[in-house]
Symmetry: C2
Amino acid sequence: MQKNKRLRRKKSPPISVIPANGELSRSHTTLKRIANQLDVSVSTVSRVLSGQARRHRISPQTEAAVSNLARQFNFVPNQLARGLRLKKTLTIGLVIPDISNPFFAGIAHQVALGARQHGYSILLCDSQEDVELEIQSLGLLRHRHVDGLVICPVGTSAKHLVDLVQVHLPIVLVDRYFPDLPLSYVGADNLAGAAEATNYLIANGHRRIACLQGIRGSSPNEFRLRGYREAFAKNQLPEDPALIVGDSFGEQSGYIETKLLLRARKDVTAILAFSNLIALGALRALAEEKLRIPDDISIIAFDDQPYAAHLATPMTTVAQPFSEMGEVAVKLLFDQIQSPQQEPKGGILLPTRLIVRRSVKKL
Amino acid sequence: MQKNKRLRRKKSPPISVIPANGELSRSHTTLKRIANQLDVSVSTVSRVLSGQARRHRISPQTEAAVSNLARQFNFVPNQLARGLRLKKTLTIGLVIPDISNPFFAGIAHQVALGARQHGYSILLCDSQEDVELEIQSLGLLRHRHVDGLVICPVGTSAKHLVDLVQVHLPIVLVDRYFPDLPLSYVGADNLAGAAEATNYLIANGHRRIACLQGIRGSSPNEFRLRGYREAFAKNQLPEDPALIVGDSFGEQSGYIETKLLLRARKDVTAILAFSNLIALGALRALAEEKLRIPDDISIIAFDDQPYAAHLATPMTTVAQPFSEMGEVAVKLLFDQIQSPQQEPKGGILLPTRLIVRRSVKKL
DNA sequence: ATGAAAGCGCTAACAA
DNA sequence: TTGTTAGCGCTTTCAT
């Protein structure tokens, strides 16, 4: 019953807000309409409305008349026509593997803000961590003639991206990238971040440290893995390949791999999770197995998030500067858009930060 | 040093992936180009490529030739030109107060999926919880001639939305809405959700229950407030207006109001937080004041999220079905897009779910 | 079975 | 100081 009374219909919505010539605001006003009304040419109207009145020495009266009428009619230029003519759409494409992942959402947020500041809109594509959909999205964005592209690639394949290199469209890759592609890139310094975390674990006496990987072959994963390994090497400790498991950045993977690991290897004393989602899965598995953090097992996770501090055991994390990543991405992109000839700046790695809380036990 | 060697430039990127006439794929292929090459008219090409060969009895040879060449040239229709001509852009606008808020990100995710399934793209605007930016975004989306709009309004003002009603653009409001506007709407049943939570608190012996509000006047807030009040009324309990505080859905607000409250009213036994962010702020304040949940104080929060179960005290929450909200929003929108005359379906309220964990103490 | 032509709304070179 | 014209790439009548 509550459902049905909520939205009352009105026969005629309030009139007060409509401009005098309400009727006209209904369908879109065009240059032509204004021109006809005023008995001038569309060029004149176009010139006035694009601020070129001065340059074309248009008479103050005409100018005033045009801009008044435009305001009255609530004129807005049709961006499609404009884009078609100018070959410039003031739109950038944003391709994200999963907008509901806070990490990517954070990046998207910054990109959206940055784009707006430059007067650009953003076309959002959620590739659902699926290369096929990523390819499809990229095609779609090209049909729509975006002026630039910010891509967080799924990362398992780059064939479609090399096509993109050909077309000289401004592009920046975020988070994941491909070493062989001459594309701008911004990401976290995953190698250093993982090394720092692993070192911290080692310094606390841990030796059998499980590594819960994300997508193998993706650049963040490979660099984190290298960081993990280098830490072992630097400390002249042997690493155990059997402790490096997993193949997805998702929660499921964290859960399953942890379960499996716990069954096979009772001697593991610590876990390094390569994403917040993986950590979440691990947490769930650990809870089920009634293992206590950090008493029974220690854990460090990539990606800090607001609740990390309030967990049963506040979690030590490797924070990635996702806001900065978004900002830098926008900057790199507009650098390219504004000077198209320019070679890509190359990759920029932003430092990670180890946030020590209480999920690591000193052995 | 690591920074600079990451991205190697190549003089000429691999050629293998480019179609035979690689040169042509560089700039966009047009109907005209294909027509010229084949010595047929653009109309013919257009017809073939839009699947109208049959209807126009185009010879199989011509048809084959055209579609082959199109494939070879990697032809894709210019959506701007198409949109201009057809007055249909296959684009929907999505306006979100803050894409980095998991609640909205979840909605956006579903909307993005749904839109793709219908062959639509989405233009994303992040209004930053700012009505001015919301207005600006809406204008922008109209210039771009979107075919429909999904809006999570900031909720403090509706003037600009009544303008929108005029233009007969398919629209659906999500989460927040305005009772006087004849627009489709989908949201959670906030009244019932808040009532259920409050009842639960009362049933557990709580009487002095603080209510940490969000934006006053916004529909979710008002209905939650009503739910809270009705629960008191139904139980024939007096409510204490001094315990109803706050004016934003943000983390700051949760923190500050909790601090203030704790100082003023030592007798509060429970908190009902109107958003996940508010709850987060409350958690922080509580931790600072060294109050333990639920021993010293109980809490229930709106918006469930994955970490809720792993908090120091697993939190009892009122889960909102954000995925369903996104799905329904898409459905409502395409209902309108497909049958434009039709009156809006009115509002749809999806049930919330009280997820009982351990943040409420039985007194 | 195919083509010519107009036009969506805008801008810009050229004219006057 | 302003107008005329052409054209961006596409669809769609109207012809033939």
